[in-house]
Amino acid sequence: MENLLAKYAPVNEPEVKTWFKAGPCSAFPPNAGACVRYQDKQIAVFHFTNIDQWYACQNLCPHRMEMVISRGLIGDEKGEPKVACPMHKRTFSLISGENLNGDCQALAVYPVKIMDGYVYIGF
């Protein structure tokens, strides 16, 4: 299980080596999450339509090691975009990956960009 977590490390936009073309924007549900496969990783991608922002993070819940983050409800805490894990409602910032209501390990977050109607995730 440790090696599962070890697969995910946050990426800052300036350090991106590969922009992975995840799929057309239309494949992603509005104001909710979906899961993208990249090599041996599962990445959760969220689209906040009212602020037209995209966020990506590991799909793995660091609390119970389940691949479920993309199925969580999204929203904000004092303006900070967040996702709630569907298992136990732990919430994580989509900017820092930090657990906002507990002391879980942070989620690895990844940069997202949109080009020509496609979603790219930076690794």
Partner: protein
């Protein structure tokens, strides 16, 4: 209707205020004549003029208010004559005005005893702003001239003492001269008055009792008072405060009935002996008395307005004369029957010479009621005592505790919050506790200032201020709970308020509600709450607004430990045919699912991969199954025993009724899950009383129990109605469930909902069975709509390609989650433990 008000004092003004607020605009023409050159001001706080308040500060309403209300205000115009034949009044300038109703609010004038020399310079009364201005000018003049100027006040009553303080503050050596053997003779007994005298003298005011003034000496201006006992008091200024005389001269002039002790006689509707003429305030004599206080005057104004509008409202038969001395720096109060003159009573007296406190309570002979009392030196209990007195609150077994503070003991009064809503907190403006709380709760007043502005409480004598303040604080504190009731940072509303909002405004989407009434982007708390509300209002399925659903509702299945889902088809009442059992077995085998019987008499299929869910349901639906809503905060199951069809004890057919009830409420979404049960007799094999609603057959019909649950805090359901037929039972269930759905907080099951309900089960019975709120029919209609609009969410999902497409683990691959692993357990699968 042409209305003329004579006198623009406190009570005349109050009449205008109440009239314009209540009478239909355009139905009248209101004219007001005031002798004084300025609009009505707060005479009660006249002395504040000395402490720097301007005359504008004291105005009861700004000068522009009258015009805004369409009132013709004639200031500086004295009415000198009333013609009852022509129904007109004549001003001192000879102008005549006709009326349909005449209101005499001419107040009173200071009583000036017939002493030789009262017309000398330096002799004043204490009634109007002019009086105070003159006192001020004269006082300063003599202070500037002489050394050690002497000032005296004639009259040691409430007003006299107030005036004495003012004279002292002007810098004069001050004396109070009283004819009676004690101060405040009408409010205090000897013991209380003696203590007051000591206190007043401590302030530096000299008190001269039992002095009858026979002459005011001096050439053209006052120089001394001569008393009938031969003594003499040097004096440079005199303020006379020897009582009031009602200004009933207009009444006398036009032959209205006048009381023997003065004042225009009025009945309990404020009519004088002429049906077109009313008298209010200090000019009126009601039940043989003139009342020199503002509160009764205000009540009279209200009654006069009501009379003119044809409403049934009469003056209270007993007028409260409670008073507290203000401003002087000595705490004095008396209320009710202060002397115990009005009948048998038992006085309780507390005296502490050292601390200078005297308290006397008069309680009824049986010790149960407070009749009146006197407080000197410490009137901190006045507000509470007066509430006990006025509301007839039963006294504690040892009423002594009310005035004797035992060290360490809690106050014997409890808190203002315990008073009944009808309790009058501000007697000046007759503002009740309920009104004040309403201002805080409903009108958003959160400060004393805002509440004073909105309710007018504490704008009279101000004595009630501490209590109003306590009430505001207490109410706000109570609302602290309400603040916690707010569902999350995105909505400043409780679930019930949101429910009503959505219903009222007809919103259909989360985005509309958060844009209109919330802030931010929502969260895992408010989104499912809104989803539940939409579902409860329009029976919309969880797929309609998919992104605000909890994960279980979003995928119409229960997420399990390893991110797989469980599938629960509905098996109403737990009754299932062998053929359907076989289908479930076949589906489970085909998709490799773990099967288990649930506590709600159905079958749970575990370990379904997300992408298999539509396939599994396709097969189940083809065999006649429907969604069991095990994933929703919704009706789960109605468990039943086998009942009278098979059981030898059975009274009624519990299975058929359980099926009927489950079919009726299937898919019904609520603040939390709902479970039901039906037993065929009191042996209760279905454990129905452990459910949100339990129905138990008796010889004479069904007994309906509500608000039970198993789980972490087991609760037995309690009886809502007994011996009812099926139809009535369904009707009560409709009402009960809908009432719960509308009013419960998020994720509150029926048992804690009932626990928090004021009035508890009796109230719930009142609402559901007796329909005390008159909402029974609405609740039934709302439920009927939900029942009619039910649809199976899984049928919708498999038939709608867009919804079906959501059941995919990856957006960029058709593969499933490769992270899922199972191991074997007793011949079935189980998630691999990490």
């Amino acid at each position: 209707m042409r209305i003329i008000v004579v006198g623009n004092g406190m009570v005349g003004y109050k009449f205008c205020e109440k009239w314009t607020a209540q009478a239909p605009a355009g139905s009248y023409h209101l004219q007001v004549f005031g002798e004084e050159p300025r609009p009505a001001y707060d005479r009660v706080h006249l002395s504040a003029f000395f402490s720097g308040k301007t005359e504008e500060d004291l105005y009861l309403a700004p000068g522009t208010w009258y015009a805004e209300q369409g009132i013709d205000l004639h200031l500086g115009e004295l009415i000198i004559q009333v013609d009852t034949e022509k129904r007109s009044v004549i001003t001192h300038q000879g102008r005549a005005y006709t009326y349909d109703a005449l209101i005499l609010a001419t107040g009173s004038a200071p009583f000036v005893p017939n002493i030789r020399g009262v017309d000398k310079q330096g002799v004043f009364v204490y009634r109007s702003i002019e009086d105070l201005e003159q006192i001020c000018v004269y006082g300063k003049k003599i202070c500037a001239q002489g050394k050690n100027p002497q000032g005296a006040v004639l009259g040691g009553g409430l007003l006299g003492l107030e005036a004495a303080k003012a004279v002292m503050d002007l810098g004069l050596e001050t004396h109070v001269v009283e004819f009676a053997p004690r101060l405040m003779p009408r409010q205090l007994d000897d013991a209380g008055a003696n203590l007051l005298k000591e206190k007043i003298e401590e302030l530096g005011i000299k008190v001269h009792l039992q002095k009858s003034t026979s002459n005011i000496e001096g050439s053209d201006r006052i120089q001394a008072l001569a008393f009938s006992d031969g003594e003499n008091l040097p004096c440079d200024m005199l303020v006379i405060s020897a009582g009031i005389r009602p200004r009933d001269e207009l009444g006398r002039q036009c032959d209205l009935e006048i009381a023997p002790r003065g004042g225009i006689v009025v009945d309990e509707t404020m009519r004088t002996s002429d049906p077109y003429i009313f008298a209010i305030g200090e000019a009126a004599s009601y039940r043989g008395m003139v009342y020199g206080l503002v509160a009764p005057g205000y009540e009279m104004a209200e009654v006069a307005v009501a009379s003119l509008l044809g409403k049934m409202q009469v003056m209270s038969p007993v007028v409260d004369m409670s008073t507290a001395l203000k401003l002087i720096g000595v705490e004095v109060a008396s209320f009710g029957d202060a002397f115990g003159e009005n009948g048998p009573h038992r006085p309780i007296v507390f005296q502490d010479q050292l601390k200078g406190v005297y308290k006397r309570l008069n309680v009824s002979s049986d010790g149960k009621k407070l009749l009146g009392g006197i407080l000197v030196g410490d009137s901190s209990d006045y507000n509470q005592l007066i509430q006990i007195y006025k509301n007839g609150i039963a006294l504690p077994p040892e009423p002594e505790a009310l005035i004797v503070k035992l060290s360490g003991a809690e106050s014997a009064f409890g808190s203002v919050m315990d008073l009944p809503d009808a309790a009058v907190i501000c007697s000046c403006e007759s503002v009740s506790k309920g009104r004040i709380c309403q201002a805080v709760v409903e009108e958003g007043c959160e400060t004393l200032k805002a509440v004073v502005k909105c309710t007018k409480a504490a704008s009279g004598c101000g004595g009630c201020k501490p209590m109003v303040d306590d009430l505001i604080k207490g109410t706000l504190k109570g609302m602290g709970k309400v603040v916690k009731d707010v569902i999350c940072e995105h909505f400043a509303f409780s679930r019930q308020e949101l429910f009503d909002l959505v219903k009222l405004k007809g919103y259909t989407a989360f985005e509309e509600v958060i844009a209109g009434h919330g802030q931010g982007m929502g969260c895992e708390v408010c989104k499912p709450v809104m989803a539940s509300i939409f579902a409860s209002l329009s029976a919309e399925t969880a797929s309609a607004q998919n992104s605000i659903q909890d994960t279980n509702d979003r995928f119409l299945a229960n997420i399990q430990r390893n991110g797989t889902y469980s599938v629960v088809p509905r098996i109403p009442g737990g009754e299932i045919t062998p053929a359907k059992l076989i289908v479930i077995g076949q589906v489970a085998e085909k998709y490799g699912l773990y099967t288990k019987i649930t506590g709600g008499q159905r079958i749970d299929l575990f370990g379904a991969r997300m992408e298999d869910l539509p396939l599994i349901w396709e097969e189940l639906i083809a065999a006649g199954f429907e969604s069991g809503h095990a994933y929703g905060k919704a009706l789960r199951t109605v468990k039943s025993c086998v009942g009278s069809t098979w059981c030898r004890f059975g009274m009624l057919d519990s299975v058929s009724f359980a099926i009927e009830v489950e079919e009726r409420y299937k898919g019904l979404r609520a603040p939390h899950k709902i479970k039901g049960g039906v037993s065929g007799c009191i042996r209760e094999c279905a454990e129905a009383r452990g459910k949100d609603f339990g129905i138990i057959a008796t010889e004479e019909g069904w007994n309906l129990y509500v608000c039970g649950n198993g789980g972490a805090n087991p609760k037995h359901a309690v009886l809502l109605a007994e011996k009812i037929d099926s139809e009535t039972c369904i009707r009560y269930l409709d009402r009960f469930l809908m009432f719960y759905i509308k009013t419960a907080g998020p994720l509150v099951r029926t048992a804690p909902w009932l626990e928090k309900m004021e009035g508890g089960i009796n109230y719930l019975i009142d609402v559901v069975v007796n329909d005390c709120l008159g909402i029974g029919a609405d609740l039934e209609a709302d439920m009927a709509k939900l029942v009619a609009n039910y649809q199976c969410e899984w049928t919708e999902a498999i038939n709608n390609p867009a919804i079906r497409a959501r059941f995919k683990h990856f957006v960029n691959s058709d593969e499933g989650d490769d992270n899922i692993e199972f191991v074997d357990l007793r011949g079935q699968i189980m998630p691999k433990l990490w």
